[in-house]
């Protein structure tokens, strides 16, 4: 059994399926990437995992926990963190304050202790501040500690977004296009951070990314979504050789027509069972 098991998830918006019967499996400590064209349903899938959407059908299990109807804050409590595609930072707050907010569930004292502050609350806050500082060092954000996040450049904000998710001390980290809009140098930094996160913290990573070079380089496993359907899944080598993937990406058919529902249904169910075997 993998750490995260998504079985037959369907998500419908007003009669339109954003996801149709998607199954995928994320083993512990792996880097698993989800690729696919814009509008394929990648972000919707992350939203289902992190509790912002609830699947119309199917189940999502994380270890012991069923996530299908759980609220976002509950999912976070289970040990799943998320960096959003469209930055969802507290723009008026500083980097330190943004990261301290991610310590919310780890900071345990009552409102009364908080009102007194000196003693217990002060000590616990200082401990968590030290943890935040370790993440700041790790993600090389020292220069921006005190800056209101809204004033930082886009690339740095993306890094703060990842740092904040990491500060939650998760077992599973969901990264939605963490490198979008970055220059090459920033991208290289981010790739290094992702690899280090997995190595040093033992965190499982689910990565959504458009840069196929990066994806094929660092992933243990790759899943491909197209029009809400999982059309392929496997090791980077398997996936890049898959004719359906080449077809979805280049639009050049190498056999049957991609829009033919019968063949794509067939494909996804084939892949679903194949995925279960490998997982």
């Amino acid at each position: 059994m993998s750490q995260l098991n998504i079985e037959n998830v369907t998500l419908t918006f007003g009669g339109v399926n954003a996801l149709s019967g998607v199954s995928l499996h994320v083993p512990e400590h792996e880097i698993v990437s989800i690729i696919g064209p814009n509008g394929a349903g990648k972000t919707s899938l992350l939203n289902c995992i992190s509790g912002f959407y609830h699947p119309t059908k199917g189940s999502i299990r994380f270890g012991e926990h069923e996530l299908g109807r759980a609220a976002p804050n509950v999912v976070t409590g289970f040990g799943i963190a998320r960096a959003f595609q469209n930055l969802e930072l507290f723009r008026g707050l500083t980097v330190v304050e943004n990261l301290l907010l991610a310590r919310h569930t780890h900071i345990k004292y009552s409102l009364l202790s908080g009102a007194i502050f000196y003693g217990k609350a002060s000590r616990i806050e200082a401990e968590n501040r030290a943890y935040v500082e370790r993440i700041i060092d790790f993600m090389e954000l020292q220069a921006y500690r005190r800056a209101p996040v809204g004033t930082l450049s886009y690339g740095v904000q993306k890094r703060v977004e990842v740092a904040r998710a990491l500060t939650l001390q998760p077992q599973l980290l969901l990264l939605d296009e963490p490198m979008a809009g970055m220059n090459v140098e920033e991208k290289e930094d981010m790739v290094r951070f992702i690899l280090d996160i997995r190595e040093e913290q033992g965190v499982t990573v689910v990565l959504i990314e458009h840069d196929l070079g990066v994806v094929m380089d660092i992933s243990d496993r790759v899943y491909v979504l197209d029009f809400g359907v999982r059309i392929a899944g496997g090791t980077p080598a398997e996936v890049s050789a898959d004719p359906r993937v080449i077809e979805a990406y280049t639009g050049v058919g190498s056999g049957h027509d991609a829009s033919d529902p019968a063949s794509s249904d067939q494909a996804s169910s084939d892949q679903a069972s194949a995925g279960q075997v490998t997982a």
Binding site: F52, E88, E125, R146
Partner: protein, 357 residues
Amino acid sequence: MPATRMSQTGNYKTTYRQDQGIFANRKELIWIVLLLVALLLAPLITPRTMLRDFDLIMIFGIAALGLNITTGYTGLINMGQGAFMGVGAYAGVVAANAFNLNLFFALLFGGLSAALIGGIVGLPSLRLKHLYLAVATLAFQEIFTWGVGHSRLLAQGGAIPAPAVSIFGFRDSFLTHNLFWYYLILPILAFLVLVWRNVLRGKHGRSLIAIRDNDRAAAAMGINPATAKLTSFMLGSFYAGVAGVLLAYFSKSVVIEDYGLDVGIKVLAMTIVGGLGSIPGSVFGPAFIIGLDRVMEQVANWLGGLNLFPSGVDVATALRPLSFGLAIMLFLMFQPHGLASWWDKLRQYVTRWPYKS
């Protein structure tokens, strides 16, 4: 509405504990001590009539700080702060009369009762936002006014006398009334400001600001939006309840007129004029609105002396709501961050002098 001040020069901190300190640096500590000393000595040079206004400013300062917690820091609009003050006032005074409680317990009981009701009235905030929440709190205000007006136990809204207070052998007497309450209310206000500053330094305060700034991200941080919103309503109405008890004791009785919709709107106006999400603003606002009232009385007297209006027309009655409405409109248009933003500019100017910012 920045939640924190920019770090200033003159901070030489070496531990995280120092970094969470309540004052930015030693200079700020000195200023606060000087301010407290000035406030303690102020009655010596203040005319007695003005002292009454000081007392009211501090009482409404507590209510405005409470509303600031809910509306300024958490972003949940509340039009019923008058009713929350009323819940505190009635609970505190009735309990004090029935069980012979002293002022301290009356304040505590009034505050806690208001917090309890605040937690219930806050429930719609889990579903409703903006205008809809405003209407829900408005409905509570109307129910409160109606309920008190129809309750025999509460004299149908008529005056219920508050017990006389004596503390450390000092008695509330006719001649020293305003002075007596000045020295009673000041430490209570200071204490409640300190409590809120403390909460703001920790996880609870941060979570309220997070809900205001980005509720999606707040939930992704593991913050339960329902807990945060109800905490905010309960804290805000606790402050209102304490202010309500003080107002009742200060005016020697509870009457429903002191806790109506107009009072809630006045507190909201004070909070906006002072500056949403600002602690000093919570006192500047009441000072401005109550000061404006006095100025308008003077203007009305002067106008009345000119014999411009037929006898029987009370110019003051017309001028007060007019100036009140105009002030709020002008603030919303030209200074939406309230008096507090001028205060911040002044502080920065003083800190940087002789350099230009």
